[in-house]
Symmetry: C2
Subunit: 171 residues, 2 copies
Protein backbone atom coordinates (compact mmCIF):
# COMPACT_ATOMS: atom_id res chain seq x y z
CA UNK A 1 0.00 0.00 0.00
CA UNK A 2 2.68 2.45 1.09
CA UNK A 3 5.29 1.14 -1.32
CA UNK A 4 7.60 0.57 1.64
CA UNK A 5 10.25 -2.08 1.04
CA UNK A 6 9.84 -5.11 3.28
CA UNK A 7 12.86 -6.69 4.95
CA UNK A 8 13.92 -10.24 4.09
CA UNK A 9 14.35 -12.49 7.12
CA UNK A 10 18.06 -12.64 6.26
CA UNK A 11 18.26 -8.85 6.77
CA UNK A 12 16.52 -9.16 10.12
CA UNK A 13 18.93 -11.86 11.25
CA UNK A 14 21.94 -9.71 10.46
CA UNK A 15 20.74 -6.73 12.52
CA UNK A 16 22.49 -5.60 15.70
CA UNK A 17 20.45 -5.62 18.92
CA UNK A 18 20.06 -1.83 18.69
CA UNK A 19 18.85 -2.00 15.09
CA UNK A 20 16.44 -4.80 15.94
CA UNK A 21 14.87 -3.02 18.92
CA UNK A 22 14.64 0.21 16.93
CA UNK A 23 12.76 -1.50 14.08
CA UNK A 24 10.68 -3.98 16.14
CA UNK A 25 10.41 -2.06 19.44
CA UNK A 26 6.83 -0.97 18.81
CA UNK A 27 5.45 -4.24 17.39
CA UNK A 28 3.92 -4.45 20.85
CA UNK A 29 2.89 -0.85 21.55
CA UNK A 30 5.48 1.03 23.67
CA UNK A 31 6.91 -2.29 24.86
CA UNK A 32 10.40 -2.74 23.45
CA UNK A 33 10.99 -5.46 26.04
CA UNK A 34 9.01 -7.85 23.81
CA UNK A 35 11.47 -7.29 20.96
CA UNK A 36 14.45 -7.46 23.33
CA UNK A 37 13.18 -10.75 24.77
CA UNK A 38 13.01 -12.57 21.42
CA UNK A 39 16.45 -11.38 20.26
CA UNK A 40 18.25 -14.32 21.89
CA UNK A 41 16.41 -16.77 19.61
CA UNK A 42 18.12 -15.67 16.37
CA UNK A 43 18.36 -16.79 13.68
CA UNK A 44 14.63 -16.50 13.00
CA UNK A 45 13.15 -18.84 10.39
CA UNK A 46 10.54 -16.38 9.14
CA UNK A 47 8.20 -13.65 10.30
CA UNK A 48 5.78 -16.17 11.82
CA UNK A 49 8.64 -17.47 13.96
CA UNK A 50 9.22 -13.97 15.37
CA UNK A 51 5.50 -13.65 16.00
CA UNK A 52 5.31 -16.98 17.81
CA UNK A 53 8.21 -15.96 20.06
CA UNK A 54 6.52 -12.65 20.90
CA UNK A 55 3.28 -14.52 21.68
CA UNK A 56 5.21 -16.85 24.01
CA UNK A 57 6.72 -13.89 25.86
CA UNK A 58 3.29 -12.27 26.25
CA UNK A 59 1.64 -15.52 27.39
CA UNK A 60 4.33 -16.09 30.00
CA UNK A 61 4.19 -12.58 31.45
CA UNK A 62 2.88 -12.39 35.01
CA UNK A 63 -0.61 -10.91 35.28
CA UNK A 64 0.74 -7.49 36.38
CA UNK A 65 2.85 -7.24 33.26
CA UNK A 66 -0.05 -8.29 31.00
CA UNK A 67 -2.13 -5.47 32.45
CA UNK A 68 0.90 -3.17 32.01
CA UNK A 69 1.07 -4.10 28.31
CA UNK A 70 -2.61 -3.20 27.92
CA UNK A 71 -2.15 0.11 29.80
CA UNK A 72 0.57 1.11 27.33
CA UNK A 73 -2.08 1.17 24.56
CA UNK A 74 -3.94 4.38 23.64
CA UNK A 75 -7.68 4.92 23.90
CA UNK A 76 -9.48 4.29 20.63
CA UNK A 77 -11.00 7.54 19.39
CA UNK A 78 -9.12 9.41 22.10
CA UNK A 79 -6.75 12.29 21.43
CA UNK A 80 -4.53 11.89 18.37
CA UNK A 81 -1.73 13.75 20.17
CA UNK A 82 1.05 11.40 21.21
CA UNK A 83 -0.24 8.43 19.19
CA UNK A 84 2.50 6.25 17.69
CA UNK A 85 2.42 6.30 13.89
CA UNK A 86 1.44 2.62 13.95
CA UNK A 87 -1.63 3.34 16.11
CA UNK A 88 -2.57 6.33 14.02
CA UNK A 89 -2.53 4.27 10.78
CA UNK A 90 -4.49 1.45 12.39
CA UNK A 91 -7.19 3.72 13.76
CA UNK A 92 -7.45 5.36 10.35
CA UNK A 93 -7.84 1.93 8.68
CA UNK A 94 -10.74 1.20 11.02
CA UNK A 95 -12.39 4.47 10.06
CA UNK A 96 -11.97 5.98 13.51
CA UNK A 97 -10.82 9.25 11.98
CA UNK A 98 -14.15 9.59 10.18
CA UNK A 99 -16.70 8.64 12.85
CA UNK A 100 -20.01 10.47 12.97
CA UNK A 101 -20.49 12.68 16.02
CA UNK A 102 -22.86 10.11 17.47
CA UNK A 103 -20.46 7.20 16.91
CA UNK A 104 -17.57 9.10 18.46
CA UNK A 105 -19.62 10.01 21.54
CA UNK A 106 -20.73 6.39 21.93
CA UNK A 107 -17.18 5.06 21.55
CA UNK A 108 -15.74 7.50 24.05
CA UNK A 109 -18.49 6.77 26.57
CA UNK A 110 -17.97 3.00 26.30
CA UNK A 111 -14.17 3.40 26.43
CA UNK A 112 -14.51 5.36 29.66
CA UNK A 113 -16.79 2.74 31.19
CA UNK A 114 -14.38 0.02 30.12
CA UNK A 115 -11.37 1.78 31.63
CA UNK A 116 -13.28 2.47 34.85
CA UNK A 117 -14.29 -1.17 35.19
CA UNK A 118 -10.94 -2.80 34.31
CA UNK A 119 -8.26 -0.15 34.91
CA UNK A 120 -6.80 -0.53 31.40
CA UNK A 121 -8.00 0.65 27.97
CA UNK A 122 -10.11 -1.41 25.57
CA UNK A 123 -7.65 -2.99 23.13
CA UNK A 124 -8.86 -4.31 19.79
CA UNK A 125 -7.11 -4.96 16.49
CA UNK A 126 -8.46 -1.91 14.64
CA UNK A 127 -7.22 -3.06 11.24
CA UNK A 128 -9.41 -6.15 11.49
CA UNK A 129 -12.56 -4.44 12.78
CA UNK A 130 -14.70 -1.69 11.32
CA UNK A 131 -16.44 0.95 13.42
CA UNK A 132 -19.63 -0.99 14.11
CA UNK A 133 -17.70 -4.14 15.10
CA UNK A 134 -15.62 -2.11 17.53
CA UNK A 135 -18.70 -0.48 19.09
CA UNK A 136 -20.39 -3.88 19.40
CA UNK A 137 -17.21 -5.45 20.79
CA UNK A 138 -16.94 -2.75 23.43
CA UNK A 139 -20.53 -3.33 24.56
CA UNK A 140 -20.05 -7.07 24.72
CA UNK A 141 -16.64 -7.11 26.39
CA UNK A 142 -17.80 -4.64 29.04
CA UNK A 143 -19.84 -7.52 30.47
CA UNK A 144 -16.80 -9.77 31.05
CA UNK A 145 -14.75 -10.08 34.21
CA UNK A 146 -11.17 -8.79 34.48
CA UNK A 147 -9.51 -12.20 33.93
CA UNK A 148 -11.42 -12.61 30.65
CA UNK A 149 -10.53 -9.09 29.55
CA UNK A 150 -6.81 -9.48 30.31
CA UNK A 151 -6.96 -12.62 28.16
CA UNK A 152 -9.00 -10.96 25.37
CA UNK A 153 -6.80 -7.85 25.43
CA UNK A 154 -3.59 -9.88 25.13
CA UNK A 155 -5.05 -11.88 22.21
CA UNK A 156 -5.76 -8.59 20.43
CA UNK A 157 -2.20 -7.39 21.17
CA UNK A 158 -0.96 -10.55 19.42
CA UNK A 159 -3.13 -9.86 16.33
CA UNK A 160 -1.93 -6.25 16.21
CA UNK A 161 1.68 -7.49 16.52
CA UNK A 162 1.26 -9.90 13.59
CA UNK A 163 -0.03 -7.18 11.27
CA UNK A 164 2.73 -4.81 12.38
CA UNK A 165 5.31 -7.55 11.69
CA UNK A 166 3.81 -8.09 8.21
CA UNK A 167 4.34 -4.39 7.50
CA UNK A 168 8.07 -4.76 8.31
CA UNK A 169 9.13 -8.24 7.13
CA UNK A 170 8.42 -10.18 3.92
CA UNK A 171 5.82 -12.92 4.21
Amino acid sequence: MSGKTLLAIHDVNSMTFEQFTTVFGNVVEHCSLCAAAVWQHRPFTDVDHIHQLICDVLDNFPNDAKQGVLCLHPDLAGSVAGLTSESQNEQKAAGIDSLTQDERAKMQERNTSYREKFGFPFVICARKNKTQAILDGLKLRLQNNIEEEVRNGVEQVKEIALLRLFSIVEH
Copy 2:
Protein backbone atom coordinates in the same frame (compact mmCIF):
# COMPACT_ATOMS: atom_id res chain seq x y z
CA MET B 1 23.52 16.30 45.68
CA SER B 2 21.82 17.86 42.68
CA GLY B 3 19.37 19.89 44.76
CA LYS B 4 16.52 18.22 42.86
CA THR B 5 13.24 18.23 44.76
CA LEU B 6 12.04 14.75 45.63
CA LEU B 7 8.40 13.80 45.19
CA ALA B 8 6.24 12.91 48.18
CA ILE B 9 4.44 9.58 47.84
CA HIS B 10 1.19 11.56 47.81
CA ASP B 11 2.36 13.32 44.63
CA VAL B 12 3.20 9.98 43.03
CA ASN B 13 -0.23 8.59 43.88
CA SER B 14 -1.98 11.52 42.23
CA MET B 15 -0.13 11.14 38.91
CA THR B 16 -1.88 10.06 35.72
CA PHE B 17 -0.62 6.87 34.05
CA GLU B 18 1.22 8.96 31.43
CA GLN B 19 2.91 11.09 34.09
CA PHE B 20 3.85 8.00 36.08
CA THR B 21 5.42 6.15 33.13
CA THR B 22 7.23 9.31 32.05
CA VAL B 23 8.80 9.79 35.50
CA PHE B 24 9.37 6.10 36.39
CA GLY B 25 9.72 4.60 32.90
CA ASN B 26 13.51 4.28 33.14
CA VAL B 27 13.75 3.03 36.75
CA VAL B 28 14.42 -0.25 34.96
CA GLU B 29 16.61 0.80 32.03
CA HIS B 30 14.60 1.25 28.79
CA CYS B 31 11.81 -0.91 30.23
CA SER B 32 8.74 1.24 30.84
CA LEU B 33 6.68 -1.96 31.08
CA CYS B 34 7.97 -2.37 34.65
CA ALA B 35 6.49 1.01 35.62
CA ALA B 36 3.30 0.28 33.68
CA ALA B 37 2.92 -3.07 35.43
CA VAL B 38 2.99 -1.64 38.98
CA TRP B 39 0.55 1.19 38.22
CA GLN B 40 -2.51 -0.95 38.99
CA HIS B 41 -1.37 -1.29 42.63
CA ARG B 42 -1.91 2.38 43.57
CA PRO B 43 -2.05 3.86 46.10
CA PHE B 44 1.58 3.12 47.01
CA THR B 45 2.51 3.20 50.70
CA ASP B 46 6.04 4.49 50.14
CA VAL B 47 8.99 4.21 47.78
CA ASP B 48 9.93 0.76 49.14
CA HIS B 49 6.45 -0.42 48.20
CA ILE B 50 7.00 0.65 44.59
CA HIS B 51 10.38 -1.07 44.63
CA GLN B 52 8.94 -4.31 45.99
CA LEU B 53 6.29 -4.32 43.25
CA ILE B 54 8.93 -3.78 40.56
CA CYS B 55 11.01 -6.63 42.05
CA ASP B 56 7.94 -8.89 41.93
CA VAL B 57 7.36 -8.08 38.26
CA LEU B 58 11.02 -8.80 37.43
CA ASP B 59 11.07 -12.05 39.43
CA ASN B 60 7.93 -13.28 37.69
CA PHE B 61 9.13 -12.48 34.18
CA PRO B 62 9.74 -15.54 32.00
CA ASN B 63 13.42 -16.28 31.36
CA ASP B 64 13.29 -14.71 27.87
CA ALA B 65 12.05 -11.42 29.29
CA LYS B 66 14.69 -11.42 32.05
CA GLN B 67 17.38 -11.75 29.39
CA GLY B 68 15.61 -9.02 27.41
CA VAL B 69 15.77 -6.71 30.44
CA LEU B 70 19.52 -7.31 30.70
CA CYS B 71 20.01 -6.74 26.95
CA LEU B 72 18.39 -3.31 27.28
CA HIS B 73 21.32 -2.22 29.51
CA PRO B 74 24.40 -0.49 28.04
CA ASP B 75 27.95 -1.83 28.18
CA LEU B 76 29.95 -0.44 31.08
CA ALA B 77 32.78 1.69 29.71
CA GLY B 78 31.30 1.40 26.24
CA SER B 79 30.37 4.38 24.10
CA VAL B 80 28.77 7.29 25.96
CA ALA B 81 26.63 8.06 22.90
CA GLY B 82 23.03 7.04 23.45
CA LEU B 83 23.41 6.43 27.21
CA THR B 84 20.38 7.42 29.28
CA SER B 85 21.17 10.25 31.71
CA GLU B 86 20.65 7.81 34.60
CA SER B 87 23.30 5.42 33.24
CA GLN B 88 25.67 8.25 32.52
CA ASN B 89 25.45 9.56 36.12
CA GLU B 90 25.86 6.07 37.55
CA GLN B 91 28.92 5.23 35.48
CA LYS B 92 30.42 8.58 36.50
CA ALA B 93 29.77 7.82 40.18
CA ALA B 94 31.69 4.54 39.78
CA GLY B 95 34.61 6.43 38.26
CA ILE B 96 34.16 4.85 34.85
CA ASP B 97 34.65 8.22 33.17
CA SER B 98 38.15 8.45 34.68
CA LEU B 99 39.58 4.97 34.13
CA THR B 100 43.26 4.59 33.29
CA GLN B 101 43.97 3.37 29.77
CA ASP B 102 44.86 -0.05 31.18
CA GLU B 103 41.68 -0.29 33.28
CA ARG B 104 39.52 0.73 30.33
CA ALA B 105 41.14 -1.87 28.06
CA LYS B 106 40.69 -4.57 30.72
CA MET B 107 37.05 -3.65 31.31
CA GLN B 108 36.20 -3.61 27.61
CA GLU B 109 37.96 -6.94 27.07
CA ARG B 110 36.10 -8.61 29.94
CA ASN B 111 32.80 -7.02 28.88
CA THR B 112 33.26 -8.48 25.41
CA SER B 113 34.04 -11.95 26.79
CA TYR B 114 30.99 -11.71 29.07
CA ARG B 115 28.66 -10.72 26.23
CA GLU B 116 30.07 -13.47 23.99
CA LYS B 117 29.53 -16.10 26.68
CA PHE B 118 26.04 -15.05 27.84
CA GLY B 119 24.51 -13.02 24.99
CA PHE B 120 23.69 -10.06 27.26
CA PRO B 121 25.86 -7.31 28.79
CA PHE B 122 27.44 -7.47 32.25
CA VAL B 123 25.06 -5.57 34.54
CA ILE B 124 26.26 -4.27 37.90
CA CYS B 125 25.03 -1.49 40.18
CA ALA B 126 27.76 1.02 39.33
CA ARG B 127 26.82 3.41 42.14
CA LYS B 128 27.60 0.69 44.68
CA ASN B 129 30.86 -0.53 43.16
CA LYS B 130 34.12 1.23 42.44
CA THR B 131 36.33 0.45 39.45
CA GLN B 132 38.34 -2.36 41.02
CA ALA B 133 35.22 -4.08 42.40
CA ILE B 134 33.64 -3.97 38.94
CA LEU B 135 36.78 -5.42 37.30
CA ASP B 136 36.95 -8.17 39.94
CA GLY B 137 33.21 -8.84 39.65
CA LEU B 138 33.51 -9.22 35.89
CA LYS B 139 36.32 -11.76 36.24
CA LEU B 140 34.43 -13.75 38.86
CA ARG B 141 31.02 -13.70 37.20
CA LEU B 142 32.52 -14.76 33.86
CA GLN B 143 33.01 -18.20 35.46
CA ASN B 144 29.30 -18.68 36.20
CA ASN B 145 26.73 -20.42 34.02
CA ILE B 146 23.94 -18.57 32.23
CA GLU B 147 21.23 -19.36 34.82
CA GLU B 148 23.42 -17.87 37.58
CA GLU B 149 24.14 -14.79 35.50
CA VAL B 150 20.49 -14.16 34.62
CA ARG B 151 19.82 -14.31 38.37
CA ASN B 152 22.81 -12.11 39.29
CA GLY B 153 21.99 -9.62 36.55
CA VAL B 154 18.37 -9.28 37.65
CA GLU B 155 19.46 -8.76 41.28
CA GLN B 156 21.69 -5.91 40.09
CA VAL B 157 18.79 -4.44 38.08
CA LYS B 158 16.78 -4.37 41.32
CA GLU B 159 19.57 -2.54 43.19
CA ILE B 160 19.90 -0.02 40.37
CA ALA B 161 16.10 0.46 40.42
CA LEU B 162 16.09 1.16 44.18
CA LEU B 163 18.73 3.89 43.88
CA ARG B 164 16.93 5.42 40.89
CA LEU B 165 13.67 5.42 42.89
CA PHE B 166 15.47 7.15 45.80
CA SER B 167 16.53 9.89 43.41
CA ILE B 168 12.87 10.52 42.47
CA VAL B 169 10.78 9.90 45.62
CA GLU B 170 11.27 10.96 49.27
CA HIS B 171 12.54 8.22 51.57
